[in-house]
């Protein structure tokens, strides 16, 4: 599990540029599935045939990132966000471009000196990337406009916790890969969607789900932790690391199906897998678009609690990862009865 995870999170593949991760996932599951294809949006769709109804598992392959849009006369690279970034978190982070150039996100000192550090001034208009180029020409020789970038932040094993960029949502990709590799028996006709462009608006999953028309949908994604996890954590967020996978109740994209949740709770209880409930005041997952596919799909989401979301140091708990794998495995083996 750790090896797959390390491999996946260290691949750079922001929204819309998922091919590297898509290839890695494909290579690790191809022998274990009946069919595998990539659709026009880049979604990787694997099929493990079964006699029951269609059950779709979804994890998104993309990560948040940046795109180079302009190189100024000093050779600084100006970037725009791909997915949800809070610019305040960005100054002095290292990033790596699609073709290997590295740099750090710089930020005008004049802005810092104004009232000490007026963080409100920090925006993609005032940030730039310094790739060490002495001139515009040097920069242009290293970077092409339109080249994407992601955090330059490798996987770290902290003992009981793992830390890296792109845990969101490669942790779920790794879980699904592990599930596919180890699943012995299953009832349902299983579809695994490794979706693209989640971070820019649940794009890939919507199309994939439309094509598959599943009866049940389960999105696997990460979720935030709050006041019970870190001292000044968000008051409105109850989730914490180490308390097991989070069964989604609601977020901005979806009210998860009540009956499906209850069934999953029963499965977890039977297998003595700890779990927590997720109520998230912000954000959404692919569950939101799977749910409203055509005439509707019984949908929920299982989340891996993750600290410092959308930062270069997203952190998950090893036990949570193991318990989530146990849970999705138990789900995949059984027949869903609502």
């Amino acid at each position: 599990m750790k090896d797959i995870l390390k491999q996946f999170v260290e691949i750079s593949a922001p929204s819309g540029r998922e091919e590297p991760i898509q290839k890695a996932i494909r290579a690790s599951i191809q022998p274990y599935v009946d069919e595998i294809r990539t659709d026009s949006l880049g979604n990787l769709i694997a099929h493990k045939k079964g006699n029951g109804k269609k059950l779709l598992f979804d994890a998104h392959m993309d990560e948040i990132g940046f795109v180079a849009t302009y190189i100024d006369d000093h050779g600084f690279v100006h970037i725009e966000p791909l997915g949800g970034h809070n610019p305040v978190n960005l100054p002095f982070q290292r990033i790596c471009f699609e073709y290997g150039s590295k740099g750090t996100i710089g930020f005008e000192s004049e802005i810092l000196s104004k009232n000490g550090a007026d963080r409100k001034e920090v925006s993609f208009d005032t940030l730039y990337v310094d790739i060490g180029a002495r001139s515009k020409n040097e920069a242009l020789s290293k970077i092409r406009i339109g080249e994407t970038a992601t955090y330059d932040s490798p996987f770290v094993d902290l003992g009981n916790r793992y830390m890296s960029k792109a845990m969101d949502d490669r942790i779920a990709c790794a879980l699904l890969v592990k599930l596919i590799q180890t699943l012995q028996t299953h009832h349902h006709d299983l579809y695994f969607v490794f979706a693209t462009q989640e971070e820019v608006g649940l794009v890939g999953s919507k199309a994939a789900s439309y094509g598959i028309e599943p009866d049940f949908g389960i999105a696997l994604d990460v979720t935030a932790t709050g006041f019970e996890d870190t001292p000044k954590g968000l008051k409105r967020v109850p989730m914490k690391l180490g308390a097991g996978p989070a069964i989604k109740i609601q977020d901005r994209s979806m009210i998860a199906n009540h009956n499906l949740n209850q069934w999953i709770q029963t499965v977890a209880d039977q297998n003595r897998i700890p779990y927590q409930f997720e109520v998230l005041p912000f954000g959404g997952t692919n569950g939101g678009v799977i749910q409203t596919t055509k005439s509707g799909v019984y949908t929920t989401c299982i989340s891996i609690p993750t600290r410092y979301l959308h930062s270069p140091s997203e952190m998950v708990d090893v036990m949570d990862v193991q318990n989530t794998l146990q849970l999705v495995k138990a789900i995949a083996e059984k027949e869903i009865v609502l």
């Binding site: 019970e228 409105r236 009540h258 749910q291 509707g296």
Partner: protein, 350 residues
């Protein structure tokens, strides 16, 4: 006789947060059964009741009214069993202090509770001008923490507690008149159709999850593929500080890009013929009601919107005028009578 008061009272008392509408559906199913030919619940938890018509083309009119209500879910259980909440749907945090609610426990029992307040004696001057937020609002059930943790968990649903009350001159106040009042109007139309000859099949859709993104209506329309759809929802009534739809002066008829001009015109004509008052309600932007998602299902569905004027929307003291409900029944019945085989052809753009 259709018993408006009883029906409104009963339907608004029920628990039915967005995504958890089953008690409301059970009640409607029982009450509407004598008036319709068949019914079912679909995947996203909307309830569909069908009144068959006599026509040969089996054309379908869908009347969509959402039955979910706004409220909260438990966001966290705090010391001494106090509950932090997270809204489901748009609830104004300013109205919540000292407001009574019910939280539903794991056995579906309703536990009364109240949003806590700090009494004036202890409020600091700077707190007087602070607008309450979901960080500072908590619920008190009066139960001990042990018991709270046994019966309630993160995600347990919470609704307003509010009894349906008669005010003066046909006005009524209550919670979730948005939009259960329109569901009762749909039932009254079904009741009316028992004694009316009509060609088209009428699909009464009691849709789920409107308050969290009009989800039930869109998926139901996908499944039903109606020829014409009319969404019925509450609209902003005239009240102190807002010049909206006047109460007691008939429904609002939506006009704008979300609505098919021919249907709008036909509804207006029906109203004029029957001397039913109405107010035109310009909606410059599609969305917000079931009509928003129905219109763009599959290859598109001719859609219109009827609005029931409502004051104090999204509070536990929403106010409607019963006359408006009755006007809508009359208008819809008249419109349904005009639906025949030729009507379909008239819907084509020239």
């Amino acid at each position: 006789m259709f018993d408006w008061e009883k029906n409104l009272q009963q339907i608004t008392d029920l628990y039915g947060l967005s995504g958890e509408e089953s008690s409301v559906i059970q009640w409607i199913q029982k009450e509407i059964a004598p008036f319709v030919d068949e019914s079912y619940v679909n995947t996203l938890g909307s309830f569909v009741a069908i009144k068959k018509g006599k026509g040969s083309q089996r054309a379908k009119l869908m009347i969509s009214t959402h039955i979910d209500e706004i409220g909260f879910v438990v966001g966290a259980i705090l010391e001494n069993g106090f509950l932090r909440v997270e809204p489901r749907g748009g609830v104004d945090p300013k109205i919540l202090q000292a407001q009574e609610c019910f939280v539903r426990d794991i056995h579906n029992e309703m536990i009364p509770c109240v949003f806590s307040t700090v009494p004036p004696h202890l409020v600091k001057p700077e707190e007087r001008t602070k607008v309450p937020s979901y960080d500072t609002l908590i619920l008190d059930t009066g139960l001990e923490e042990k018991e709270v943790r046994k019966r309630i968990h993160v995600g347990s649903g919470i609704i307003f507690k509010s009894s349906f009350t008669k005010l003066l001159s046909d006005h009524y106040a209550g919670k979730t008149l948005d939009n259960r009042s329109c569901a009762v109007i749909s039932m009254a139309v079904a009741h009316e159709l028992m004694t009316v000859l009509h060609d088209w099949d009428v699909y009464f859709v009691f849709s789920s999850q409107e308050e969290v993104g009009t989800k039930g209506a869109g998926t139901s329309a996908w499944e039903i593929e109606p020829n014409v759809a009319i969404a019925m929802d509450v609209g902003f009534g005239s009240q102190n500080g807002h010049d909206g739809l006047p109460l007691g002066k008939g429904p609002g008829i939506g006009i704008g890009p979300n609505f098919t001009p021919k249907i709008v015109n036909d509804l207006r004509e029906c109203a004029d013929n029957k001397y039913i008052p109405f107010t035109l309600e310009p909606c410059a932007r599609p969305g917000g009601t079931d009509a928003g998602s129905i219109q763009i299902v599959r290859s598109g569905i001719p859609t219109a919107l009827l609005s029931l004027p409502l004051r104090y929307m999204h509070t536990p003291v929403e106010v409607l005028n019963l006359k408006d409900c009755k006007y809508i029944v009359e208008l819809l019945t008249a419109y349904i009578k005009t639906l025949n085989d030729e009507y379909l052809e008239g819907l084509q753009w020239s």
